[in-house]
């Protein structure tokens, strides 16, 4: 039998996996693609990851971690400092309180939920950015970004689900 403290150490290493995975996804959102086909519209992978963990493993990605990820994303992408933190926490808070509606249900339900959450989060972001800029920001790119993120959600879900199986307390 493995000594307890080794198990504990293993657990705490494993516990940072969700945080690490989400940070990697934030990084991926900032890597230059240089291809006109992709342009400046890349999916908001961090939001997809927060949504996933809020449903399936909220205890392992607590609110302060979500806050930190949001601030990191703001600094990296040059967004108003605090904007992503606010949006990610909003999504996290709502989904954690409603997670029983998704847990143990087919994947399609979670995807449908994301297809509702993503446009709402994007609309709120758009409204805040417009308010801060004092002008109406062209919404077309934001709409595309929401659509693309909804489209790639299954991929994020598959990757994170594989990762979540490694974590302690997997059901």
């Amino acid at each position: 039998m493995t000594p307890l403290f080794v198990q504990d150490a293993g657990r705490s290493v494993l516990a940072i996996i969700p945080l690490f995975a989400t940070v990697v996804l934030v990084f991926l959102g900032a890597v230059p693609t240089q291809l006109p086909e992709f342009g400046s519209v890349t999916p908001v992978l961090s939001l997809a990851a927060i949504y996933f963990f809020a449903i399936y493993r909220p205890t392992i990605l607590p609110a302060p971690a979500v806050f930190g990820i949001g601030l990191f994303q703001d600094a990296l992408l040059g967004l108003p400092f605090g904007l992503s933190a606010l949006i990610l926490l909003g999504v996290y808070g709502v989904i954690v309180s409603q997670r029983n509606a998704f847990r143990g249900r087919p994947f399609l339900i979670a995807w449908a939920g994301f297809a509702v959450v993503m446009p709402v989060a994007m609309a709120v972001t758009w409204a805040i950015v417009s308010l801060f800029a004092g002008t109406v920001v062209p919404p077309l790119a934001a709409i595309f970004q929401a659509l693309i993120t909804v489209a790639v959600y299954p991929l994020v879900n598959v990757l994170l689900a594989a990762l979540a199986r490694l974590l302690p307390g997997a059901s």
Binding site: V31, P32, P36, V41, F67, L79, F81, G93
Partner: protein, 296 residues
Amino acid sequence: MRLQKTGIVALLQPIRALLGRFAVISLMVVAFALMLVGKAEVVVVDRTRAAVISAAAPVLDVLSRPIASAVSAYRHVTGLFDAYEENQALKAEIVRLKSLEQISAKLAAENGMLRSLTRFMPDAAVNFVSARVVGEGGGPFVRSILINAGARDGVGRGQAVVNGDGLIGRLTDIGSGASRVLLLTDLNSRVPVIIEETRERAILAGDNTERPSLAYLPPDARISSGQRVVTSGSGGVLPAGLPVGTVTIGRDGVPRVQPFVSWNKLEFVRVIDFGLEADELPETVRPPAKRAGSPQ
């Protein structure tokens, strides 16, 4: 004992849930407060952003390299297919450029002669720092890129960033080894420009679309599609005469500028150090009180 423990846990459950909810809401309030504070360009927020950029740049640099190689391999293969047409086009271009070379040599000689006649004061010496684009930013809301040159390479806030095509933007956040370039197209970008042909001044104002608009044009401006737009050098931070783009007048009649730079092909850029900081003004217009405390 066991039963008692579960009883306590069950009792604590709603309190824990409340605390969890409270954490989310209070952190959201903090995030919103940070946004308000950050809007006022507080030093702490600026420093944090700069530190994050510096720390993240090496990781992004590593991540961006395989993508850059894949893209260049793709371009190499597709380039082979139209090599013949490209060769013909280049030959035609050479013929055209040779005649231009003659003209420009003549003009340069004439210009030099006239300058010496009029004792023209040349612009301050300009230094370049070359850098690689390591990150793209912001998605639909911010137009910016990250480059791997920072304070330790001698670049500073407000300096112009160009590539072979023309002006890309200006530096905003300066980390030690990386910095952020606010692109011309960003909502917050304002660049003093001049219409090359008519010498009319305007402010190039980004609005997150591909084509920034020309603000503060004189009402009687003689403006038409296709005119070249260059930096005016007003304010002294940017050198005058950097190519920016061409005027296009849309259906709504608003004069806009199609930048020379193609945003999807930014790989290497140059930062122009014009020897002035963003918040400094040229000697002649600087109020004397401010002069005393400044390091220069």
